[in-house]
Every structure is written in C-alpha cells, then in structure tokens.
Amino acid sequence: MKLLKLVPDNTNIAFLKWRNIAVAISILMIIGSMALVAQRGLNFGVDFIGGQMIRTTFTQTTDAPISELREKVGELGYGDPTIQRFGQPNEVSIRMKLPDGADQDPELANTMADQITSMLRADYPDVRIDGVDSVSGKVSEELLSKGVWSLVGAMLAITLYIWIRFEWQFGAGALFALFHDVSLTFGFFALTQLEFNLNIVAALLTIIGYSLNDTIVVYDRIRENLKKYRKMDIIALLDLSVNETLARTVMTSLTMLVALVALIIWGPDVIFGFAAAMFLGVFIGTYSSVYMAAPILIWLKVGPDSFVPPETAGGKAEKLGGPEEVG
C-alpha cells in the first residue's frame, strides 16, 4: 500500500529568508488588529457587559423578521435591542441592556424579559423561546476580569514553564508568538463583530495551547539540533529544524482543521463563534511558531552555548545520513 505523504522527504524550504518581511507584516497585523478593536470595538455578549439575551427560534418561518422585531422591541421602551442571527436564518438572539436601577431591584429586569417574551408569543405564534440569559452588571464585571486574568495568567505561566524547560530566549519568543495570536484573534472578532462571550475566552485559551504546542515542537527540534550541529549557522539551523518538523506540522494542522470543519458545518449553532475562532487560530498559531517564535531566537542571539552540552564539548555530532547542511 502506498501511503500518503503530505510533505516530500528532504523538503528544504528557506523559511527564515523571509523573516524580516514576515515579522514586519505580523507587526502591521497586530497594530491593525488593535486599531480595529479600538475603532469598531468588540461585540461583547451579556456575559461581559451585563444585560439580557433571549434566544428564539421561529419554527414556521424561514427568515426571522429582524427589522420588524427591532422595531417592536424598541416600542416597549427599554431602548434599542441588539438583534443577531445565530446559526440558521430563523434563529435570532435579542440582547438588551438591563434597565436603569436593575442592580438594586432585579424585578425590573424580570418585567422587561416578561414583556419581551409575551410580546413575542402574542405577535409570532410560531416562536419558541430557547433560552434567557440575564447577567447583572456586578457579575459581568467579575466575569470580564476573570476572563482577562485567565488569559494573562495562562500566557505568563506558560512562558515561565518554557523558560525553565528551555532558556529565557525561548520563553520570550513563545510569549511574543502568543501575543501575536491573541491580538489577531481579537482583531478577527472586531472585524466580524461575532459575539464575544465566555466561550470565546475558552477558544482563546485553546488557541494559546495549540499555538504553544506547535512552538514547542519546533523549539524542541531547535534545541536538539543546537546540541547536534554546534558549528551550523543559526539561520540554517532554524530552517533545518522547521523543515524537519514540517511534515508533522502540516499533518496535525490538517487533522485539527478537519475536526473543526465538522464542528463549524454540523455542530451546534451556539458554539459557531468558538469553532470559527479556533479554525483561524490553527492558521495563526502555526504561522507564529515559524515566523514569530523562531526569528526572535536569532535576535536574542541563541547559539550552541545557550545549552550547556550534556557531554563534553564537541558533542556527539552523529550524522546518520542526515540532511546536508545548508548555508
């Protein structure tokens, strides 16, 4: 049986030749993402800004009457709703800010939800109320700060771990790559205005985990090669390491993407944003391992002496028909 080989043997692509351009583009993308977030803002769900979200399905209608709904809910006098489709065209979520004073008197929020649902039931007999989420300002502030802390905490803890297992340059490189991944994901959410909720924090942390996975595989090979080929030029050595792990990178990314495509197409609508973010994250994470995490090692002057060799200097430069050194 002939097995599939996604990457031919002895592939030798000079990835690092493009490092300056790639890093420049990445920095532009990071700045662009920040500008997008600053300018358009994130479409925060009730988890993070408080308020009320009612999820409904119009069981007999193919298209939910969004503009009519907006008008009718607006007429109730609680301000303008944010109405969004999620998943199918007949499924919409109606988001409202909590009425003034609802933090003191939760009855106000109840009354608002009651009025909206009874209006829906009266005017649209085929409507099905799928869920009501109501989050007070106090709780949403806590959820937001917890979300921020979990992201910051994860990035720092992981950086620290890599510093301990490798060297400080590797920790710095991983942190920079993670910063790149997280920034771009934020930019994606500012651009698409997909709802940013608790699930997306989970997606961000998974992206961090995945991107790190990739970075570590490359770093592990760099460490191995640094000990093996002590005389090799650092750029050539990085290229060699990236190429040696390329088959694995492509294979793993593809399996992840296959699983995610299944989630996006057939999965529950509620986690569409989550799956979309992860899908993007696989690309960003793979890219950043090669073009963010690796070049930083050059600039931070990583060399064979970064790791004290386990055996006597000179090392055991075993070359069992290994690839030719490239300059």
């Binding site: 049986m1 097995l3 599939l4 399905t57 109840n110 009651d114 099905r128 799928d130 869920g131 009501v132 989420d133 109501s134 007070s136 106090k138 709780v139 959820l143 917890k146 979300g147 802390w149 979990s150 905490g153 994860a154 803890a157 992981i158 771990y161 608790l198 699930n199 924090v201 989970a202 942390l205 985990g209 995945y210 790190l212 996975n213 570590i216 595989v217 090979r221 191995e224 040696e244 792990t245 088959a247 694995r248 294979m251 793993t252 593809l254 399996t255 992840m256 296959v258 699983a259 495509v261 299944a262 989630l263 197409i265 057939w266 999965g267 529950p268 509620v270 986690i271 992860m278 069992l320």
Partner: protein, 534 residues
C-alpha cells in the same frame, strides 16, 4: 523496544478495561440504564444545563442586611437583660447610629452591674479568640456595643448556611427533581434546576425572605403623620397596600410583637366565612405561648401581620387565641397562598437574596445541541481516523485504536468524578480528537525520519518514541496549564470545557504514547519485519 514485559501488558490492559467499563453507564443514558446489573459501576456523567435544559440562578445576599438584623436582635437582648437584672438597671434610649448600639446607664453605680449583665451576650468568634461584639464604656456611663469584623463574618457565614438550607427545603417542597444548591464564595448561592423551563415561580419563591411578624397596631398615631411616613415615638411605619382605611401606611409598636419563625406548619386553606384563600399556621409550643399572651393582653385591639416588611392585613383580636394556630388573611390568590405557605413551612431566609445571574435553556435547544454535537463529533472523528490510516497505514490504525480507547477513557474518568458534560465540553471532545493524534503524528514522523537516516526498523521505532516523547510531554504540560487556568477562572459551561480538556490531555498521553507503544512492540516481536511501511 521488543522487551515489553508481560506484567506491563496485563496492567495496561486492565487499566484500559477499567476505564472502558466506567464509561459504559454514561453511554446508556435513560431507559436501558434500569436493566444495568448492580455489580457494575453506575456512576454517570452529569449533563450540563446547556444540554439538558433548565435554569441556573445565582443569588447574592447583601451583608449589610445581616448586620442590621443582628443589631436589632442585640438591641432587644440588651433591653431584656437590663430589665431582668436585679435590681433592674435603668437605661436611656438606645441609639443604633453607624451600626453600633449606644445607650446611657442612668445610675452611675450600676455601670459595673450593667457590664456584668452584657458580657454573657457576647461569645467568641473565629479562631483568633476575638469576641463577636466589643463592649466599651465611654464618659463613665455611656455604653457602646459594636460588632467586631470576626463576629460579623461568622454571622454572615451562618446566615448563608441557613439560607442554603432554607432554599433547599423550598425547592424540595416545589417537587422539582434533582436541584443543585451550592454556596459560592462568601455571599452567594448557586441554584441549578435541570428541566425547569420557566423559572418565574422559582425566582418568586427564592426572592421571598418570608419573614413573618405580628405587631400591635399603634392606633393612637396621628393618621396624617403616618401617611407622610413620620412614625410616633416607639412606633414604626410599614406600607399597607390593601389597607381598608385607604391610607398607604400603618404605624405599629416597635416592641412587643412576636416573629413568625416559630412555626411547625403552614398550609393553604379557605376562610370559612368569605371563602377567600388564606394561610393557616401552627406555632410551636414556645411561639404558641407567646402568641397566646399577646392576644390575651390585647383583646379588642388590632394587630398587623407583616410579611417581608409589608403589612398583609391588620385584623382585630376578637378573643384570645390559645390553641397555637392562627389564620393569615390577605389579598391572596390560591397560588399565592400556596407559595406563602411553602415559604413559611421551610422557614424564613435570614437574609434577603437577589438574583444576580440567570440562565435558562429550553429543552428543545438542549436536545438540538446534543444531536448536532454528536453528528459533528462522529463526522469529525471519522474524518480524522480515515486521514490517519491513509497517511500512516498500520501505525495509523494503532493510533486510531488508541484514540477510540481515549474517548472511552475520558468518559470513564469523567463518570468517576461525576463531572459535568457541557456544550463547550462536546467541542472539547472534538478538539481532543484533533490534538490527541498529534502525539502519534509526532512519533510516526520521527520514525519515518529515523528510517530515512538509515536506522534499522526496531531502532528507528525505539528512537522515534524516545525523541518524540520529550516534545509531547512539554507540549501537553503547557496545555494542562492553559486548561487549569480556564478551570480556575472559568464559570459554568466553560469549566466543563476545561474539564474535558485536562482529562483528555492526560488520558491521550497514556493512550497515544504508552498504549500504541505496546501495540507496536507486540507486533514487532511477533513478525520481526525487515521493512517498515510508514
């Protein structure tokens, strides 16, 4: 590599069999579960509310309420102690300003006696040996009784414990099945009720503190002052929405009433004359005696029935009520009277609770999510499995076998810990499928590489496993770190995701490295191939 001792094979197989066995009850949810033999494990995974449908309600207490109630109780105890002292200690008005009690002892020779009488009212609080109240004497005769922070903390803690019990009793009375009621942090309680579609009745019930009081009406009060909300000395004003006299408020005597926490039973009934719904209550012995004394001494006068600070009705005491039972009338519906009797039966909440977060998922959406999640999981897994076999042949098949075992193991471990499967948790499953094969991809690619470098079959496999394990270990540790932070800071469904992720990482290292290694070793030993198709 070929040396794989028999005891290792047996213990790995036993561990796998145990994990698969533990996962079985969860896969037979519902009806067939009944026919499950009793000697087999029956722990199952819980379904999160986002999958089963139901309501999640987060309640928060305001600690200043507890402080206020505590101060009032202390004031009454102080009065009682001063009156009971022999000789009686005369004191001036008790002020409750700034959260502390202060009062003058009229006769300066009684200061020491007063201090003696007050000391037993305080007890130790917490582990620091601090007392729950501080008693100070200022300017010779002025007593200041102030709550200590340790005392207040333990009071809030007790109040929350009681509140949790009361809520559990109330929800049980409603006949709801399998509610989860947990204290969270210092002042919060989480209530989760699966299958509950409309949480209005539940919220209504939880929102009532059900603090019932009987107080004498101050019928000498000036109606104009009462309407304006200015109480006469020694009285306080309560709103009275159904007042037949038409006034919005009513004045009652501050002291000398009794509280309704001494009940043994409450039930909905009908007034024999008007046929209006009422609540019948029965006092315990102590409460009955107090109620009898109150009604005996005040025949012909009205007393107010106050629920949560609002007067329900203010009937006249026509005759002493000695039997220990009474009837609460008010402008009730049958349902309202029923709810009130549930609330009274299960006791008053020691503190008012507010809903700060509510999430309700309809059963249709939950079922829909499970169905779609399953479809996505099956398609995603099948595609990944096919992909692995096409790429790595026999080694891909071993990886797939390990992956399938891994899915059972995750379910099994989750069942052992009674963990909760949520919608993001299903996504976590699918992601685990994607990333679990990464370990095998790393190993297999390394074996290919070592073969290219001219190593012999057994040696290539050995080096492949050894060299790849380092990166697998480091990569998975960082993933566990991310998962742990998600678990610590996450809430609800997101935590469910973190649980699947963490368990999945640990089990996948076991299946993808240890189990496949065993399979490969056994195969190599049996066939001793000279060539390797990988």
């Amino acid at each position: 590599m070929l040396d794989f001792p028999r005891w290792k094979v047996i213990s790995i197989s036993l561990l796998l069999a145990f994990g698969v066995l533990m996962s079985l009850p969860s896969l037979f949810f519902g009806e067939s579960h009944k026919y499950w033999p009793t000697f087999l494990p029956d722990e199952t995974i819980n379904l999160g509310l986002d999958l089963s449908g139901g309501s999640h309600i987060l309640l928060e207490a305001n600690p200043t309420d507890v402080a206020e109630t505590r101060l009032q109780t202390m004031e009454e105890s102080v009065r009682a102690e001063m009156r009971r002292a022999n000789p009686r200690i005369n004191i001036g008005d008790i002020s409750r300003k700034d959260g502390v009690l202060s009062f003058m002892v009229r006769d300066s020779t009684q200061v020491d006696a007063a201090r003696e009488a007050l000391l037993p009212l305080t007890t130790g609080a917490g582990l620091t040996g601090q007392r729950d109240w501080d008693i100070e004497v200022r300017d010779d005769t002025r007593f200041v009784v102030s709550p200590t922070s340790a005392g207040l903390d333990s009071a809030v803690d007790n109040a929350m414990d009681t509140a949790t019990d009361v809520i559990r009793r109330r929800i049980d009375e409603m006949g709801t099945r399998e509610p989860t009621i947990i204290r969270q942090g210092d002042t919060r309680i989480v209530v989760q009720v699966p299958g509950l579609e409309d949480p209005e009745a539940l919220k209504e019930l939880l929102g009532k503190t059900a603090k019932l009081e009987f107080k004498l009406v101050d019928f000498e009060a000036d109606p104009n002052a009462v309407s304006a909300g200015r109480p006469p000395v020694g009285s306080q004003i309560f709103p009275y929405p159904d007042n037949p006299a038409g006034l919005p408020n009513i004045a009652v005597k501050r002291l000398g009433g009794i509280s309704g926490d001494k009940l043994t039973d409450a039930g909905q009934g009908f007034d024999p004359e008007t046929n209006a719904p009422v609540v019948n209550i029965t006092f315990d012995t102590e409460g009955g005696a107090k109620f009898a004394r109150l009604t005996q001494n005040n025949v012909g006068r009205p007393f107010a029935i106050i629920l949560d600070g609002v007067v329900l009705s203010a009937p006249n005491i026509n005759e002493p009520i000695l039997g220990g039972s009474a009837q609460i009338s008010g402008n009730f519906t049958v349902e309202g009277a029923n709810q009130l009797s549930i609330a009274l039966r299960s006791g008053a909440l020691p503190v008012e609770l507010q809903v700060v977060e509510e999430r309700t998922v309809g059963p249709d959406l939950g079922a829909d999510s499970i169905r779609k999640g399953m479809i996505a999981a099956i398609i995603g897994t099948a595609a990944v499995l096919a992909f692995m076999v096409v790429t790595y042949g026999r080694f891909g098949f071993y990886a797939n076998f390990a992956l399938a075992l891994n899915l059972f193991l995750i379910l099994g471990v989750m069942a052992i810990f009674n963990a909760t499967l949520t919608l993001p948790g299903i996504a976590g499953f699918i992601l685990t499928v994607g990333s679990a094969v990464d370990a095998n991809v790393l190993i297999n690619e390394r074996i290919r590489e070592e073969r290219r470098r001219g190593r012999r079959v057994v040696q290539a496999v050995e080096v492949g496993y050894k060299e790849a394990s380092r990166a697998i270990f480091d990569a998975n540790i960082t993933n566990v770190i991310a998962g742990l932070l998600l678990f610590i800071f996450g809430s609800g469904p997101v935590r469910g995701f973190a649980v699947v992720l963490i368990i999945g990482i640990i089990t996948s290292v076991f299946t993808a490295v240890v189990v496949t290694r065993m399979l490969v070793a056994l195969w190599l030993r049996r066939t001793r191939p000279q060539e390797l198709v990988i």
